[in-house]
Every structure is written in C-alpha cells, then in structure tokens.
Amino acid sequence: MLLNASGCLDALLAPDVARSLDGFVTKTITPLPREGNAAPRIAETAHGMLNAIGLANPGRERFLSETLPRLRELGVPLWISVGGFCARDYADTCAVLDDVEAIELNLSCPNVDEAPESAAEIVAACRAATALPLYAKLSAAHSDVAAVARAVADAGVDGLSLVNTLRGMALDPKTLAPVLARGTGGLSGPTLKPVALGAVHACYAATKLPIVGMGGVTTGRDMLEMIACGAKHVALGTILFSDPDAPARVSDELQEAAEALGVVQPGDVFALAHEGEKRLDIASIVAA
C-alpha cells in the first residue's frame, strides 16, 4: 500500500494526487490550532531538505467539523496523524475519531517541544481511548530505535511508521546564520533513505509489526528496498513536492524493479533483507 508521509500533501488542494495513493495521511492534528513557526521554514540541502513548519494545523475542533467531512468526500482511506504536548492531548483526539482507516501517533516531530511522557506512556493512553488501528511514528534519532519500537509494541500499537525527519541545520552561504528562522529543522529527502532502511530493518526484526516505511523514497526501487527491509506499506514524502505524479510513477517502477530481479510480485521480496530469510538467487530464477 502506498501512502503519503504526513505533512507532505494537502488532499483538499490536490485531490487527484490524494486519489492516486492507497490512503491519505493528514497533517498532524493537535488539540488547539497552531500557526506554525516563523519563516523561513524550509531550506534545500545537498541531497535533502530541512523543514521547520511546526505542526501548523487548524486544531482538533475545526479539523473534525470542517476538514474531516471534506476529506471523507474524496473517497480515499484516511489515516489521521495525531499530535500533542502530553499523553492526554493524544488520547483525547483518539477518543473522538471514528470511521477512519488508522491513527498515526506523531511521537517524533523534531520541530516542537516533546511531550514529557515516554512514547510508550502516550501509546498506552491512546490504546485505552480507541479501538482503531494505532501506528506509532518514530524518529531514527534514538541510539536504539528497536527498543522504542518494542516499548510501543508492548503498550499496544498495531503498527509503526518509520521514520520521521532528523533534526539538522543549514547555514546561509554569506552570513553563516542558520537559514531557518527556528534554527534547526527536520531533514528529509534521498539523504534520509539509508537511515530509514536501517530503522525499518531493526524495528521489523524487533517487533514483526506492520510498518509504514518512509524516508527518501523517490523511485520504485527505493520502495522495493523498503519492502525488503520489512515495510508492509510505504509512504512518499519530499518527492511529492517536486513530483505530484510520483505515486503512479513509483507504483509502475516498483513492478519493473521487481521484474528486473526476476520477482513476480513486489510483495515477494518482503523482509528478504533479514538474516535467515531466503535470498534472491537470480541464476536459479533465470534457469527455472
């Protein structure tokens, strides 16, 4: 299943792009409206970009009364990204959501202050508040992301979203001042892909939970590699900014990338990158 990464698409402004995905993940919703950070909020880097949007969103109340009904009209399965500044923020939003595909708990935005509770405590509060599928969106900026994955798994999540952006900084070439008004921002784009593959691999091995893999996925081959690391679903992020046609293109390329390896279905490579899993043997496939 191909999704967008949260915050990388406005389905109401680009409904055709949203419909070209298997599901639409909303921008993170917080209890109260947020304007987001001051400009400049984005900066291009050598092989990626930084953003410090700061969870700009209309707030829970307006999202439920205005945005969500319009999103439902698109006919695309909806994943709601939920954020907050304490466990109760998250749980209260989960409690009022129903009839959506899944809830993604944004436990890892690098551009706002973190909730004081641990990821597992937030997940436990949300688990008690909803029966909807819960995905925990984690950052790879942990010394042991698999340990965090195990903790949220024990607290009751149904799946993982990996990875969020990594905090970074870019300097103005002339003034050497940070380009972003906030100073730091979240790094995304192709530069993030090896980090994402590593995190998906480690968390699949640790939990065997369904994983939405994301981070620098730009081509069908990238998507195939995510699947090989253990991602059940894949999300497109930064590539949507430069290529709104990416969902259809990446899906086509995925099939081609699989066939190039002698694989009939892309799903056949699921978790192949793990030790003990069967390796692709091109020679035997060709001989057969």
């Binding site: 304007e35 400009a39 984005i42 291009e44 953003n51 949007i53 900014f241 709104p244």
Partner: protein
C-alpha cells in the same frame, strides 16, 4: 488547470545580468500574469518557483537571476535540454483595473512584460541597483527607470491602479504609498501547490500559504 510536463529548451538569452529561459510551451497553459510555475532545477532536489515573463506563441519564457545553485543550473540550460515544468499555480494579477501602472524592482520585473501585454502596454516604472541590472528594462520598452540611490517609488504618479513586483522593502513602500495596490510577493517554496507549508507569510494577521493565497495580494 495546472499541468506538469517536460518542456524542451529553445534558448537561454542574456538580458543584462539575468537570463531569459525560453521553453517550448507544450500543452502547458500560460495562465494569468503573476501566476507562477515550478521549474525543475537540474541536479537539485527541489524545483524553483518562477513567474512567467513572456508568453509568445508556442513558448513560455522565464527571467532568472542566478542567485543560488538552482537558479544557476536553470541559467546554464542549453537548447535541446528538457526540464519538468508544473503550472500555472497560485493567483495572478487582477486585470480589471482602470488606470494601471506597473512597478518593478530588480528581478521582480520578471512578470511585468507578460502583464504589460495583457493590459495593452500601460505605463511602467522600474528600479534597479545598477546600470548593468537596468539593461533588463529592454524587455519593457518605454519604461521609466530609476537606478540606486534613486528609488522607484519616487517615480510613482498619483491616481493609478498599481500592480507591483519586487523586493520586500519595495513592496512594503509601494503598499504604504498606494493602498489597494496589487503586490506580487515571494517566499521559499518546495512544492508550489499547498503541500509543504514552507511559504507561510503573514496575511491579515495570520500565517498563510503564499502559493495558495497569493502570490499576488492586495495591499491593506
């Protein structure tokens, strides 16, 4: 309707210190003056937002100042190269004005040639930082030109409907001088179609996306 298409380069011509990138139009709509297009910058991750400068038959032409690696890459394109172009995007200038006056500053003059054509060649005043930059005024025959330290705002007569594009301090000055002026703003954009939330600017006291609300906004 915006459309994304790979367009071939017809020519890259020097206009003073700037480059005029001329592309085959393909099936892409030229849109309303002041609207913008996202142009693939070869070798860069993100496209660059540029307003259309001229729309001769079968062509789209963009005036570019090479201020960074992306615009530099665009200026180095050669005939026969091809890049992805997505647009037209955003809200352009309203053309239902009685006594139009076009005001441009530096590379902000980029959308004015196409706008001048749509408004049947109204008076134009331009400001530049140097004689060399002022060579770009050749794209707007008959324009009155101010060169630093003279400010373009000193050339604005009373009683006109001002449509302006230029650096932020100029737009603020024009807005103060001419309430109701149509001002074309700029902000860093990753996508141009409302997805990235990067181009937030304060509009009516709230941070809003310039690519959705603008880039042309009315001066308060």
């Amino acid at each position: 309707m915006p459309r994304r298409e790979r367009l071939r380069v017809l020519a890259t011509e020097a206009v003073g210190p700037y480059a005029l990138l001329r592309l085959e139009r393909g099936q892409v709509d030229a849109g309303v003056p002041g609207q913008f297009f996202m142009l693939e910058a070869p070798g860069r991750l993100l496209p660059r937002a540029l307003s259309l400068c001229l729309a001769p038959s079968g062509e789209l032409a963009f005036l570019i100042d090479a201020i960074g690696p992306g615009t530099q890459a665009l200026c180095e394109l050669e005939r026969g190269d091809a890049i992805s172009v997505f647009g037209p995007l955003g809200n352009g200038f309203r053309l239902d004005v009685e006594r139009p006056l076009l005001v441009g500053g530096g590379i902000g003059m980029a959308p004015l040639p196409y706008l001048a054509e749509a408004l049947r060649f109204p008076p134009v005043v331009l400001g530049f930082r140097s004689e060399r930059h002022a060579e770009a005024a050749v794209l707007l025959p008959g324009a009155e030109v101010a060169i630093d330290p003279v400010l373009v705002t000193s050339l604005i007569p009373d009683g006109h409907d001002v449509l302006a594009c230029g650096p932020e301090p100029m737009l603020h000055a024009v807005g103060d001088l001419c309430p109701g002026a149509q001002l074309a703003w700029e902000a860093p954009m990753a996508c141009g179609y409302g997805a990235c939330y990067g181009c937030a600017v304060e509009i009516d006291g709230e941070l809003k996306r310039l690519c959705v609300e603008g880039p042309v906004l009315l001066a308060a």
